[in-house]
Amino acid sequence: MSSILEARNVWFTYDSRNYTLKDISLSIEAGKMYMVFGRSGAGKTTLLKILKGILKPSRGVVLFNGRPTTSIDTAKRAYSVIGYIPQGFGIVSNISVLDNVLVGALSRVPLLHSILGQFPKEERDRAEEILEIMGLAQFKYQKVSQLSGGQRQRVAIARALMQKPQIILADEFVSQLDPVTAIEVLDVFRRLADERGIATVITSHDIHLASRYADKVLVLRDGEFKLCRDGRSVSESDLIAAMRETFLESSR
């Protein structure tokens, strides 16, 4: 299987002194689910922003379908098929659930029509269908500010799906949910991967759910991958061990 998105020997620094990411290589394949673990400050959010193209690598390269995203064309194409859900979901609280989902279609709708709120019928139908799948149909005219955390999360997924994504990047996606809701959300991602071939990258520090869901489990520590294994072959103690050393090192 060839990779859709690949980070090759990526280094990144915010302040041009300390490297937040060090020589990261990661290949993302269609239909696979990736979970990136790491303690606070390990560089998870930074990694997702590099993959999305919000941040540019200081060294190394990100490839989309084998082409470097340093070319503007490739970067644009990658940008439009990578769904990115930030830590707080980034949904617009003062508009309806349906409008939030339609936002995902903005790059396909002519400017004037979108400003007037006139979305083509096929986009509306698509939004309704996605809302149905995500179990949000009855909320579609409600404002997002009236929804619970789990429901907002599903709105964020729905918006990402509206983008017709090949990849969805989700930051800290299950950490803020109760265990039952977390499992429901992960089930959704598993289905998206299996049925639609959408690759998903989820960062988390909640290790309990890893082995059940992820095809690939990665542990980021101080900007480096300390573990990169098949999800089913990883135990919780492996993960804890891989995440832990930072603490021992820094307390020395």
Binding site: K52, I54, Y79, S80, I82, G83, Y84, I85, P86, Q87, G88, F89, G90, I91, V92, S93, N94, I95, D99, V103, G104, A105, L106, S107, L111, S114, I115, A156, R159, M162, Q163
Partner: protein
């Protein structure tokens, strides 16, 4: 310690100098404070016959405030778009922020003078004055509100490939809508008072009436106007605070 003592003396000297400059040590002027007695006596009792005139002037004031608030709000919104760090390129942003800052340096009463000269006495000049003042004030508040929209929301909406205008329409405006409405209400409340003041230079409304009453020495009518105006302003403040507290917090 010594430097501090020098400062104290300097400020004290300046203080007395300003009092002296403004006539506080001029006995004949200080004696005029006695006039307050006849003035107050002249005001009492308030003249009820002037009531219809006062009410129609207050009505004009509120209408002026309303029109000026909405026009200023609309202009402020447009200028804010070009002043927002998120929406405009740096040179445009700097230019429009400078324009807004210049508009703000001129107080409402000066705008009123300018428009009275251009357009003559009456509420028309008043509305233009309120409009300009409001534009400068709200423009700044609005672009600050735009720029403080959550960067996550913006990143996410940008992340779907939305253009700047689309970001404005689907993220920035909705996220700052509550603040915008609440500030509009607040400035309306403020503008009711400002419309009174601009009237004093002839730009219509109850201020204009007050000016006329003072000039014709009708102090009992003046008291009526002031009392009614006071009640009115308090009522509008009260209602506006209630609405803002209830819907826009």
């Amino acid at each position: 310690m010594k430097a501090r003592a020098k400062w104290r003396i300097a400020i004290l000297v300046l203080f007395f100098f300003s009092l002296w400059q403004t006539g506080f040590f001029d006995p004949s002027r200080v004696a005029k404070i006695q006039n307050i007695g006849p003035f107050l006596a002249g005001m009492l009792p308030p003249d009820p016959t002037i009531l219809p005139q006062v009410l129609s002037a207050i009505y004009e004031t509120v209408v002026m405030a309303f029109a000026g608030t909405l026009m200023g709000g609309a202009l402020g919104l447009i200028l804010a778009v070009f002043s927002s760090r998120l929406l405009a390129p740096l040179p445009i942003m700097a230019l429009f922020r400078t324009i807004l800052a210049l508009i703000r340096t001129i107080p409402a009463i000066l705008w009123a003078l300018i428009f009275v000269v251009i357009a003559g006495f009456g509420p028309f000049a008043g509305v233009l004055a309120i409009t300009f003042y409001t534009t400068g004030y709200l423009g700044k508040l609005f672009y600050e509100a735009f720029d403080s929209v959550s960067s996550e929301v913006l990143e996410a909406v940008r992340g779907v490939g939305a253009s700047r205008l689309q970001q404005l329409r689907f993220a920035i405006l909705p996220e700052s809508a509550n603040y915008i409405l609440s500030q509009l209400l607040f400035i309306f409340e403020y503008n009711v008072r400002a419309s009174t003041i601009v009237g004093l230079v002839g730009a219509g409304g109850v201020g204009y009436l007050i000016l006329a009453l003072v000039q014709s020495l009708k102090y009992s009518g003046l008291l009526t106007a002031i009392l009614i105006l006071l009640a009115f302003v308090l009522a509008i403040d009260f209602i506006s605070t209630k609405i803002r507290g209830r819907y826009f917090t």
